[in-house]
Amino acid sequence: MLSHLFKLIWNKKRHHTLLMVEIWVSFLVLFGVMSLISYNFKNYVEPIGFEYENVWALDLNKNQDTTAIADKLHIILQKIRSYPEVEAASRMSSNSPFSFNTSNGSINYKKTSVHGDYYDADDAFIHTLGIKPILGTWFSQSDVVAKFKPVVINQQAKEGLFGEINPIGKIIGDNQKVVGVIGNFKAKGEFSDNRPCIFNLIDDKYIFNKVLIKVKPGTDANFEAKLTKEIASVAKEWTTEVSYLTDQRQNQHNLALVPVIVFLIITVFLLVNVAMGLFGILNLNIAKRREEIGVRRAMGATAGNIKIQFVGEMWVIATFGVLIGILFAVQFPLLNVFNIEASIYWMAIGLSIVVLYGIVTLCAYHPSRQAANIQPAMALHEQ
């Protein structure tokens, strides 16, 4: 039966070339959009690793002020922590969660090396973002001993550098001593990659201009106004920018989701187009082959047989198109394009095949049923 169908299609291959091309291109478009969706979905299911509700990010811009920066920063931080509305406050490098700043490079242990994000934070950081170390502890000023600087890495960095070995107390880089390991830390939001990262303890002399504060629920802009006024009274030339992590998270999400939505809309429009075209062509084909159907029915083929024949023919055409498409699509996981995990591409190929066969079946079903309803007497009478 199947080989018979293949033979039928092969004999009229010139006639079906354009259909196959259409299915081939549709497959590639589907593959593209499915890769994008799989990538984002796979990221989304990984937890983000910290709490961002009621956390504000304060950007302290010192502008042209050059005098006693460290002292002023110290006073400001103490003032912030003294408010009853503030649960915890922590200094951080400018690449705070959901911000658009990044800082990255390689993290080395002996001969192994992973590429990851660099962060600087102080001892109150885990209280501000509700992070719990899974191994060891978060660092504090008392960890600064001799020439070693305490660092905390995340699970991804641990796996990349140490595998199954316990990393606590190991020295990475030149003089960074691992004191703790945390779980995920996806600073750019749920849709970002789960990357390795390393935290350094903020140096008191070095100037970082970001402060994260966790406020009590229900704290409003009145407190914010009070806070910025207070900062301005300590450092007159400075400007303070307050942003809420929830808003910044929304921005990051929009950045990730808008391209997906745009591509999805365009793909749906293309596929609806293709589906309607297929439907029309099948209708025409069946009208042309009434006699053939009539003869088959007269020779004892059941309505079901006729239906299967037409749907089957469409599947065979789709298979040719999809096979050529797969030939192109497998290059992506094989050549490791865009440095994305191969499993995402395989998933995308699988999903595309399912969706494409779904569409083809949907388009073929109604015309095939019409064909099955043709009575031999009516069909043969016309001759």
Partner: protein, 414 residues
Amino acid sequence: MLFNYIKIAWKVLLRHPFYTFITLFGITLTLTVLMVLTSFIDHLLGSHYPEYKRDKSLYIMNLTIQDSARSSMNNSPLSYNFIKEHIQKLKTPEKVGFSTFVSFANSYLNGKKIKLNTKFCDANFWEVTDYEFLEGKPFNEQNIANGEHVVVITDAIKKQYFEDETASAVGKSIEIDNEKFRVIGVVKAAPVTRLMTFSDVFFPYNLPKSNYQTAGLQGNFTAIVLAKSKSDFKAIQEEFNASVNRIPLPIALYGQKYDVIEVRAQTYTDTVLHTFMSGGREIYFYIGIVFILLILMGLPAINLVNLNVSRIMERASEIGIRKAFGAPSSALAWQFIIENIFITMIGGSFALILTLIIISIFNDSGLILHADLSINFSVFGVSLLVCLVFGLLSGVVPALRMSKMKVIDALKSS
């Protein structure tokens, strides 16, 4: 003759409403997507409020310094010093205006926070751009020289900050980042996509918070150079490059030595492309656009070709008779192509209506703040061209197939 072809096409359309629907549906959707896309690109790159003079302006946005080995690179907007020395002193341009990139400030009002985009600019900025003043006037050289705490705000901010919307805001005071400013003018807000001119509030550039005294070549300013006419671009660029070449090298910055300065006065489109794809990668942008267009138009076109080729037999008798009476293949091919273009144009007009609806929904949605997408003459022209290309793309193959049909076959089957 043309009229006859169109009349035939119309009759064919009416014969099978179902196939007509499929055809028009595909054409309309395709062209709508392309028209919205065109309108969006025009919104980003065309001359619109407040930059009506964009085609007569050169933009200087970034200055890159590199060491001779090209291993270390520093890319940043310009410093005020650089603008003063190398741009304002140019003789060929008509005018030079400058401003900072957008930064942010907060304003608090009765427990409500208003987040503001701020910009520091000079008096000429108001002349190289076309901001429409609804109230008051821009600050001038005198205001700047006096170091006055004045500010120009947009109508959107006025609405948010001042309770009485009808009264003039000019002369009132507004508190931004814990400093008081006197409102000197109110302008109509511009879309957020006007990278170099958009803002909510505009301050004179010499307020301390603009950091205009930064030493070195790099800072946070950008400049717009207005030429007398488009033909002066070359002269301005030459004069500007000559001026930049006089900067003594190498430059020391953060303990590094840099020997290469790269800064360009370019049209807006080039500036944007250069920013997002530096180093000759613009070509990828164009390849990407062509590829997307090819897929967007190609797939529906193949679809239509398929459908038309399948329907070829409907017209067999007509083709057979015309051929028997001596019509050449080319005449038949042209007839089918013209028919197809006619149908495409019908789809195109539906698409135009649909596009207008989508654009107005988009503008009102606030997805892009103060967006002003529109269908202007150039967008319409491009859309028409797209329709023609699409009509040809989907019409040529069926037309050739039909015109090549043998008279015998055509007449026999009917």
